[in-house]
């Protein structure tokens, strides 16, 4: 049981950080499909920082800086150039996946994996079975709480939600939705970097090409499942993580009877089920304000 909880926390924490970034963007009115690209950038930068500079702090900082750069680019394309958020988000994800692969090839000469000699600081033996978890796992509840406080209990959070739900009303009160969206995306940058760092350096201490494997998209699905609320979205990403952890557990016990590749598909199936459920709960055809420029 204990190791199931450990596995669950390990797979859930990266999702939670990235999901929070998605929630902030969602509230400001941006469908953030670039989460996957920012997450893998954070993962890559952290491991590269540890390998090249022998310092976790440098790694985390580099991750935050690169993620903020990507966020800035995304904001420019979506807000200034008025590009379609979904396609531009997919482009940003492609940029992250391709860029990290390119960086790995340019620095180490081959695409593949880089392993670091040490990772994020651990909780230590005082925590018993949970001692192997990284400090980011322990920090996660506080970050979730801080996000909730910021989004649901401050004037800034209210203005942000106004920018997402009714930009004209926000503008009428003297808030510039464009600027607020920039702030929201920039806040998401470090969160994505932390999520990526936990994924790559939390327990594995390795970075490999495409290692996020759709977790960014899963986080985005958690934002939708959680109806854009920080706590709801956190619970949703825990649900996806739980399914993933159970899948890994099932692989250990029933691996000879059920093909492992089908068990690996479980979190994705759970995501689809979650989206279906949340759409059912909300009822009817979710209004989508996405149109594609047609010439």
């Amino acid at each position: 049981m204990e190791d199931l909880i450990v596995a669950f926390l390990r797979s859930g924490t990266p999702l939670v950080y990235v999901t929070l970034a998605g929630v902030i963007a969602q509230r400001a009115g941006i469908w953030h499909l670039g989460l996957e690209g920012m997450m893998i950038t954070g993962a890559c930068a952290t491991i590269l920082g540890i390998v090249l500079a022998q310092s976790v702090v440098v790694g985390l900082l580099a991750g935050a800086v690169f993620c903020c750069l990507l966020a800035l680019l995304f904001w420019f394309v979506v807000e200034v150039l008025k590009a379609n958020q979904i396609i531009a988000g997919l482009g940003l994800t492609g940029l992250g996946l391709g860029g990290t692969a390119l960086a790995l090839t340019a620095i180490f000469g081959s695409e593949g994996a880089v392993s670091a000699s040490f990772g994020l600081p651990r909780l230590g033996p005082a925590f018993g079975a949970f001692g192997g978890l990284s400090v980011l796992v322990a920090a996660m509840p506080f970050v979730v709480f801080a996000c909730w406080l910021l989004l649901c209990r401050t004037r800034f959070g209210l203005r942000l939600a106004a920018c997402g739900e009714h930009p004209f009303a926000a503008r009428a009160t003297g808030v510039n939705p464009g600027t607020m969206r920039l702030v929201a995306l920039l806040l998401g940058g470090p969160l994505c970097a932390l999520g990526g760092a936990e994924l790559a350096a939390g327990s594995l201490q390795i970075f490999s090409v495409n290692m996020t494997a759709g977790r960014g998209f899963m986080s985005f699905a958690a934002v939708i499942f959680g109806a854009g609320h920080p706590l709801g979205a956190t619970l949703a990403s825990f649900f996806f993580a739980l399914v993933g952890a159970l899948g890994i557990r099932a692989q250990l016990s029933y691996g000879d009877r059920i093909p492992s590749s089908l068990l690996l598909a479980l979190p994705y199936v759970a995501t689809v089920a979650g989206l279906w459920l949340s759409a059912r709960m909300r009822g009817g055809n979710a209004a989508s304000s996405r149109e594609l420029g047609q010439q």
Binding site: G91, G94, A101, L102, A106, I107, F217, A221, W276, L292
Partner: protein, 343 residues
Amino acid sequence: MTSRLYPVLQTGAFILLALVLCSLIFAAVGLSATETLGAIVDGAFFRPNALAHVLRWGLPLLITAVGVVISFRAGYFNIGAQGQFYLGAICAAFAAEWMRGSPALVAVPVCMLAGMAGGALWALWPALLRVKAGADEVITTMMGNFIAAQLLVHVTSGPLKDPSGSGQQASSRPVEAAWRISESSGSSPVIIAIAALVVLLGWWLVNRTSFGILSGLAGRNPVMVTWQGAKVQRIAISAFVLSGALAGLAGSVELMGPNGRLASGFLPDHGFTAILIALVAGMSVIAAAFIALFFGALTSAGLWLPVMTGLPSSAIDIIHASIALFITAKAGVFRGLLARFGR
């Protein structure tokens, strides 16, 4: 004339912007931007036998891209072309396994139809989730891609595993040699004919049928089309299923043609590239035919780069991603800038 030329100019400008971004990224990781882009152009257009390579990669992409055009025009972001492509290949491979021993004239069309059915089915469930429950199709089709990739791993290492196969990549038993519609390298008249047929039918469907006109309108203003009495749900599901079927057809063409067997994780960028083709072509089937050849050239350059120049093939992914980032940017931006600087 200018109104026709304007979108082309705009697309060109944004692609140029994308290339600038690419150069910056290449420079950031320490590659020479001009050298890399030069090598890509070389690999795409000036290598020996370039046209054959362009056709080999471009035609299956074109088939999938026509499907993407159909669903995007109807206002549905079917991002699942990759999964539908995989399911098409898987179903065609199962059909080929069951039909072992029958004549090619029967077997090949049956495999193609099986592939189309597989792709269509993989597009049907996100369509139903979208239309009946309101679950967003962007995420469901995206998750469909990941599930399909795992299914492919399962099929190639389980039911269809090649017992004599070795090496790292699991693969299925090869399709019977007599059924192959092309050599392993390059294209063939059969594939060209299939692609031409898809373009002609796609053009006819989009521009000359009530489904095409209504779906185009529904993509822009579903409320209006509903009020006019069109069955929007039926249009949506047909658009999804058609696009899935075409992606599935591309999957079976790849299986029966150049690939000859299923391999886990083959052509992982096919769906995304097809989406780009549809976007760059501005949702026009005829334009997609030309743009697909261009992206086919880029894809072939991606395979050529690491072998001939030692440059990483992910350089092509960067180009694709940058184009995706900028391609939907609005024209108004340029008009605004022009006005500000007094043309």
